[in-house]
Amino acid sequence: MLIKCPHCGTRPVEEFTFNGDASIQRPTSNDPATMDQWFDYVYLRDNPKGRFDEYAHHSSGCRAWLVVTRDTQTHEIFNVVTARDYAKKRVAS
């Protein structure tokens, strides 16, 4: 599996460390009434079949945090962006 790092170019998957679902968002409230949201955020993960946004750290390369969008079934990679750009885009939308 080859991943095109926005900084380093195409690199093999071995250079990356994956860190799970990038689409979940941290709850902003500390109110005990929001504990259900926190429980979801900390423990619950979907296991989607198909398109999936996933954090990837280019640990053996430029050490940047990236978000890789791939198909969990076929491992086709659709898109790679920096985690910074991913977060900015999410704030904007």
Binding site: H7, R11, E15
Partner: protein
């Protein structure tokens, strides 16, 4: 910090001069350790990436190597000077003691390096002056092309000995000279 203490290369007793490996014809590669060398890591402060890049570009006598997004290795300048010059633009850290730079050059240099890295080192896409961060023999390597057949490999000091062993082993089939 005293100014006059002497840095000892961790490869001082390892990188022994001479001709090794295949002994027919000219050596495939020549290895040398750049020591002593001034190295600083420079990481742009928030929003200062462009200003930093411009400041580095116009700095005479400094060797600037890309080392990740908005990060650089700055060679050949004393650290006090680096910090003063880049005040407000970048966070700087002296790495002169922390890294070892091995220079490898010769007609077989790409054949040696491609045993360790997936980076395509053909000069059509990897020109002189270009750097890449990669891994060879499980060691993180900062690799820079400094000539048509010459590269500099920068590794953490603590890994330099095992990395040297690996590198020389890979160069054996071509014959190598240590200078």
């Amino acid at each position: 910090m005293p100014d006059n203490f002497q840095r000892v290369s961790p490869l001082a007793d390892i990188a022994i001069q001479g001709r090794f490996g295949a002994d027919h014809g000219a050596p495939g590669v020549t290895l040398s350790v750049r020591h002593p060398v001034l190295i600083a890591t420079v990481i742009a402060r928030k929003g200062k990436a462009k200003a930093l890049a411009d400041a580095l570009k116009s700095w005479r006598g400094a060797t600037v190597q890309w080392a990740g997004a908005e990060q650089y290795f700055l060679l050949d300048k004393p650290f006090d000077e680096v910090r003063k010059k880049l005040e407000g633009l970048a966070s700087c850290s002296d790495q002169s003691h922390g890294r070892v730079i091995i220079r490898i050059e010769g007609p077989k240099v790409r054949q040696v390096l491609c045993k360790g890295t997936p980076v395509d080192l053909h000069e059509s896409g990897f020109e002189i002056g270009k750097s890449a961060l990669t891994q060879m023999a499980h060691v993180g390597v900062h690799l820079t092309r400094v000539g048509r057949d010459a590269f500099e490999l920068s590794v953490f000091r603590g890994f330099s000995e095992s990395f040297w062993e690996w590198l020389t082993e890979k160069a054996e089939e071509f014959g190598y000279q240590v200078i």
